[in-house]
């Protein structure tokens, strides 16, 4: 087997908000075309780590590398153009446009047709076709003509994933795609993620709160606890890891449930 390249890497990454250290000395490397899950209890620093990786926050210490290039000082837009796309926990779509138009706008931007004013937008048939195929990927193809604000919450998340896919970034940072979803909606979104994984051309990093859901999807699992990297390994290793069991699965998780 060809050894996998590291695509995204952090070295001694830390951020402190006042006296509170949210992310403490985290050094991770994400392997190309792998499915990495970041898990941890509430307040473990998962989303903060994502914000650092995608550029929403700048670190107090440490560096971030993308394909060996130091991107610590890059803006979110620059990182997105380099190839790091992310989704947010909060749903963020164009509410009064159709589902298709939402995705089409993302495709159009990716194709760099940004200032064309003379042609009709339907002139670019390929955008619409690509948007439709992306909607198929996220299992929304029967909702193409629906106004986005009329979608159910879970469908909006799917739409957002389609828009993220349209940007064709190599790395996808998915921040709790199942957040705020009803239990009935969760399997559908997992199916979408599985589908993207099966296409096999992207590096996916997924934050998840509920660990059991992503274990069989992940190639590698990282466990964050109190802002520190507690453990990393294959799902099986993580399940057997005593530190993880006591810190996450045992103590805190039960506390959280209680």
């Amino acid at each position: 087997m060809i050894p996998l390249e590291t695509i995204l890497e952090s070295k001694g990454l830390s951020i402190a908000f006042g006296g509170h250290i949210a992310v403490n000395q985290i050094s991770i490397s994400i392997l190309e075309k792998q499915f990495t899950s970041v898990i941890g209890p509430n307040g473990a620093g998962k989303t903060t780590l994502f914000n650092l990786l995608s550029g929403q926050l700048s670190p107090t210490a440490g560096k971030i590398f993308f394909k060996g290039q130091d991107i610590t000082s890059f803006s979110p837009t620059d990182r997105a153009r380099l190839g790091i796309g992310r989704s947010f926990q909060i749903t963020n779509v164009f509410p009064n446009l159709t589902v298709l138009e939402n995705v089409r706008l993302a495709v159009q931007s990716q194709a760099k047709v940004r200032y064309q004013i003379f042609a009709h937008y339907k002139h670019y048939k390929q955008f619409e076709e690509k948007a439709l195929s992306l909607l198929e990927t996220v299992l929304l193809n029967n909702k193409a003509t629906v106004i986005a604000s009329n979608l159910a919450h879970g469908e909006k998340r799917k739409l957002e994933i389609a828009m993220l896919l349209a940007l064709e970034t190599e790395v996808l940072l998915l921040d709790e795609p199942t957040a705020g979803m009803s239990i009935e909606e969760v399997p559908a979104i997992l199916e979408v993620i599985k589908k993207i994984k099966e296409q096999g051309d992207r590096t996916i990093v997924l934050i998840e709160h509920k660990m059991d859901m992503i274990l069989d999807l992940s190639d590698e699992v990282m466990v964050l606890f109190h802002g520190e990297l507690l453990a990393r390994g294959t799902p099986a290793e993580i399940m057997d890891n005593e530190k993880v069991q006591s810190a996450y699965l045992g103590g805190s998780y039960d506390e959280h449930l209680a």
Binding site: F94, L97, L105, Q108, R114, Y115, I117, K122, T145, M163
Partner: protein, 338 residues
């Protein structure tokens, strides 16, 4: 998709038929005042369309749109005042109006579009006020608050010619702006209206788009100002007044924000109402203060028809089409089941 294309064609045909009816109107009717009224509708229709580019398509609230209208009116008036009113100077005047409007709207765009909604609205209000004061104080050129009359080229002295020119300009702008709003760039404008942050994160530079739409809208508004001056043959500081902006706002909202036909319908309604209700002032004094009535209509429209006339019609049409489609689907499913 096929259906969409057909509908698109259909609406274009409807608009063309209406335009050609308006074309023969001056040859059917001879009433001077009614022709003047329809001409004003065309002019304010153009102006309101340009305002809707900002308000309805991009979601920018400007309270100073009158400044571009005034720039257009004053540019042409001053050029005719200083030179012979010939067709050559008409072109010069239009070019100056367009250029000035483009520069001002560009600067306004750069300076103020970085500000969030209500700060932008306030700043445009202040800027338009600045133009109003400048027009009042710069007596040697503008004639101050009294304004001045000017003669126009022989061609425009004929009411029918002027009417046709206004109509042609409106139709051209209507179709031109329709293409503009349906272009890839135009769709990004709507995205900005819907969710500015998301548009930015898709990789579009929002500021560029806001400046572009600001310039397009400003230039179109200045042409409306030019036509306004040609139709009145008189200009005074009222072209810079906030009322002009508010009229455009009213026309756009009653007609239908986010559509191009809406502002024209709104312009027609308001100009007609203005005309007829003022005539009714003999019946009851309230009709002289017709704007009071319009205030009420405006409030009712915002509450019950937030999409305006054109928007509501479009929505009904869309619903009907969807129903038809759904029925078709159900039928085909039945067939499959059978």
């Amino acid at each position: 998709m096929q259906q969409l294309r057909l509908n698109f064609e259909k609406s274009t045909w409807i608009y063309l038929v209406i335009a050609s009816l308006l074309f023969i109107l001056p040859f059917m009717m001879s009433g001077r005042s009614i022709m003047f009224l329809v001409m004003q509708i065309f002019i304010f229709g153009i102006f309101a369309m340009s305002y809707d580019l900002l308000l309805g398509y991009t979601g920018i609230v400007s309270f100073g749109h009158a400044m571009f209208f005034g720039i257009g009116a004053y540019s042409i008036a001053i050029v005719f005042d200083l030179n012979e009113p010939t067709m050559f100077y008409l072109i010069v005047g239009v070019l100056i109006a367009v250029l000035l409007a483009a520069i001002v709207s560009f600067v306004v765009g750069i300076l103020t579009l970085r500000l969030k909604s209500h700060f932008y609205a306030m700043l445009t209000l202040a800027l338009a006020g600045l133009f109003l004061v400048a027009a009042e104080k710069w007596r040697s050129v503008t004639g101050g608050a009294d304004g001045f009359t000017i003669s126009v080229p022989e061609f425009f002295k004929d009411r029918t010619n002027l009417y046709l020119v206004c109509l042609i300009v409106m139709v051209l702008f209507f179709f031109g702006l329709r293409r503009f709003t349906n272009s890839p760039l135009g769709r990004v404008l709507m995205a900005i209206r819907e969710n500015e942050g998301r548009t930015e994160s898709l990789g579009y530079k929002v500021l560029h788009y806001k400046v572009i739409v600001s310039v397009v809208s400003g230039v179109v508004a200045s042409i409306a100002g030019v036509l306004y001056m040609l139709s009145l043959r008189f200009v005074d500081t009222s072209v810079f007044a906030t009322e002009v902006t508010l009229d455009a706002l009213l026309m756009t909202i009653i007609g239908g924000v986010g559509t191009l036909v809406g502002p024209i319908i709104g312009a027609a309604l308001i100009e007609f109402a203005h005309h007829w209700l003022s005539d009714l002032s003999d019946v009851h004094w309230i009709f002289e203060r017709w704007i009071i009535l319009f205030g009420a209509v405006y409030i009712l429209a915002v509450i019950f028809f937030p999409k305006g006339i054109a928007g509501t019609i479009q929505e009904l049409y869309r619903k009907k089409r969807k129903k038809r489609q759904d029925n078709k689907e159900i039928k085909s499913e039945d067939k499959m089941a059978g």
